[in-house]
Amino acid sequence: MAAGEPMIRLDRLSRRFGDRTAVDDLSLEVERGELFGLVGPDGAGKTTILRMLAGVLRPSGGDAVLAGAAVASDPEAVKRRTAYMPQRFGLYADLTVIENLRFYADLYRVPRAELKARLGRLFEFSGLEPFRDRLAGRLSGGMKQKLGLSCALIHQPEILLLDEPTFGVDPVSRRDLWLIVHRMVADGVTAVVATAYLDEAERFDRLALLHRGRALAVDTPRALRSGLEGGVLEVAADDLRRAREAASGLDGVAQAVAFGDRVRVVLDDGADRDPDSLGEALAAEGVEGVRVRPARASLEDAFIQRVAAAEAEQDTPSEATVPAEAP
């Protein structure tokens, strides 16, 4: 692999299941040492993409090249350079923690001389040492994920593929997991992580916002949000219900939703962003006690705005007869 070439390149990657297209003609690049996110809800195609990158699912079309090895033609070469952690716990519940670790070390033929040192380091990160002889099935969710990550890292892969590693995990373990991932990336590992949690997406170097097998956008979190900065306003009013109703009906409003004790208003791209304008418009509709202020745009807002835009572009959404989700 030549210097300057991306570590991972997806080239019109596609996957169909029967007549359903799970991944649709996806092309993107990931640089060496990048922490890259595949972000989107269930059904967006994240797991399918990761499975293809890991070489356990054949693409229907296109290709992906990881560290110089192509998935479509030589998946086994890809597997030597990558480590994959599937969404469902993929380790042996009836083997102990240490047995699982040693098993994966053997599979990747980790040199015996180095094994002890690596195990030591991994135990340090994960805090799993006291549980080394516990059956993996008896670990808590957070510990299981840490074990999965440790087994993936034991052979010091160039590329890490993680499918929703923090799903359902307690916040403390979640922080530990991310710390490990960040450390690895700092050491030069390239990591592709799938997540449905948009708040977690803030931590990626770059991310792809996925929706129904397509990437709505590929950029840094900041860039994705900046387009939206100023485009999200918070409204407080005497009657929040009325405020929300009124706001939804206004031109230039992509979405208005009650959230706790405020109404969060996401504006259309290009609409008037002056909080006072919105305040006046709402007052004109008869809403009393209106107070409007700018809110910090979140990635979730960015996602919603882009999904709405994408669906407006297509006449009908992919699922033909089922009505579209109107914002």
Binding site: V56, L57, R58, P86, G90, D94, R102, F103, L107
Partner: protein
């Protein structure tokens, strides 16, 4: 091919097996149970047939004949009948399986040199047993008649007397026939059922997805998984052989080494077949059912174990050529009862080799390291 990876897979499989009670029971308890069940419970030998007698002659000759029946050991006189009308109800109820009737004038006919008749009525609802019982009855009568011929007039000399002897299983002990056959059948069933689960289970649990993402090769996975089950299979052969010889007294006249070697080949084939089923179904429930149909039923019904192949309809006889257990049965019976070696069994040995190659080959070919 990396020995380290292969052994890692084998080691993992052994650990999992040792922690899986159900598989262990299947592997060791089932063969023992089957052996004991079939060895003791099933016997095609007929002994102590419950018999009723109606002696309408009340002569010394008649009583002598009845004594002969009693002494043969095959018949046990449990009812003395006075009236012909009682015969039917006794047979209907099953109180007796056979009734001997000595008609009036029996002794008189014998004394006068006329053909004397004895009637044996047998419960035919179990045709197999009935045939055997009838055979015994005829035998008893014939030998009694021959013995009796010694006093008085010259007995008619038949032109040819057949002298039959049974080789290899002199007493026609059915267990001698059953046990070696059972060893073959048990091997087939246990081997295939054990391995039919192993790959399917990993796909269902999600561990195969992760394993597939590693550089391990298909050959390493299949061989690594085969190894522990091969050892279990050989242990089972040893166990069954030991039980057969010590518990049932079945002779072992041939080479134990040859038995081990050919068992190894047969096991490889059966294990491979099970793994093939596991690899293509990817579902434990389906795999178990498929394994039952593909191995249990043919091994049991079509290998010659339960039913002699020669008496099967032509079409089925052709099918039996495809049943590996058929050939292994020849091997086991040959080694146990006949004491023959490779010289005689070379065809079967070659076929076992082919079966082993086919089984393992199918397993490796069908196992894919991809979800789809």
């Amino acid at each position: 091919m990396s020995p380290r990876r292969l052994l890692a897979i084998a080691r993992k499989e052994v650990r999992q097996l040792s922690r899986d009670t159900r598989s262990l029971l299947l592997a060791f308890l089932l063969p023992v149970l089957l052996l004991i069940l079939f060895g003791y419970a099933i016997s095609w030998d007929v002994r102590d047939v419950r018999t009723g007698v109606l002696d309408q002659d009340r002569s010394a000759a008649g009583r002598e004949l009845l004594d002969a029946f009693r002494a043969s050991g095959y018949f046990s006189i449990t009812a003395v009948i006075d009236d012909p009308g009682e015969i039917r109800p006794l047979l209907d109820r099953g109180s007796v399986q056979a009734v001997l009737v000595i008609p009036p004038g029996f002794a008189a006919d014998l004394g006068a040199g006329r053909t004397a008749r004895v009637q044996a009525l047998v419960d035919g609802s179990d045709a197999n047993t009935a045939t055997i019982v009838l055979g015994y009855a005829r035998g008893v009568v014939a030998s009694w008649a021959a013995r009796r011929g010694g006093d008085g007039a010259e007995p008619p000399r038949p032109p040819l007397v057949a002298q039959t002897r049974v080789w290899f299983n002199e007493e026609l002990e059915s267990k001698n026939m059953i046990v070696p056959g059972l060893v073959a059948v048990i091997m087939m069933i246990v081997a295939a059922m054990l391995t039919s689960l192993t790959i399917a289970r990993e796909w269902e649990r999600g561990t195969m997805e992760q394993l597939a993402a590693t550089p391990v090769t298909r050959l390493e996975v299949v061989m690594g998984k085969l190894l522990p089950y091969l050892v279990i299979g050989l242990l089972d052969v040893a166990l069954s052989t030991a039980l057969g010889v010590w518990l049932f007294g079945v002779p072992l006249r041939g080479s134990l080494l040859l038995l081990a070697a050919l068992s190894l080949l047969f096991l490889l084939g059966a294990l491979g077949l099970g793994m093939f089923i596991s690899a293509i179904t990817r579902s434990q429930i389906l795999a178990t059912q498929a394994a039952m149909i593909a191995t249990f039923l043919p091994a049991f019904l079509l290998s010659g174990f339960m039913f002699a192949i020669e008496v099967m309809p032509r079409a089925l006889q052709f099918v039996t050529y495809l049943v590996p257990a058929r050939y292994f049965l020849v091997v086991t019976r040959g080694i146990f009862l006949k004491g023959v070696g490779v010289g005689v069994l070379h065809t079967q040995a070659l076929l076992m080799l082919a079966f082993a190659a086919a089984g393992v080959g199918l397993a490796v070919a069908s196992f894919r390291k991809e979800l789809a």
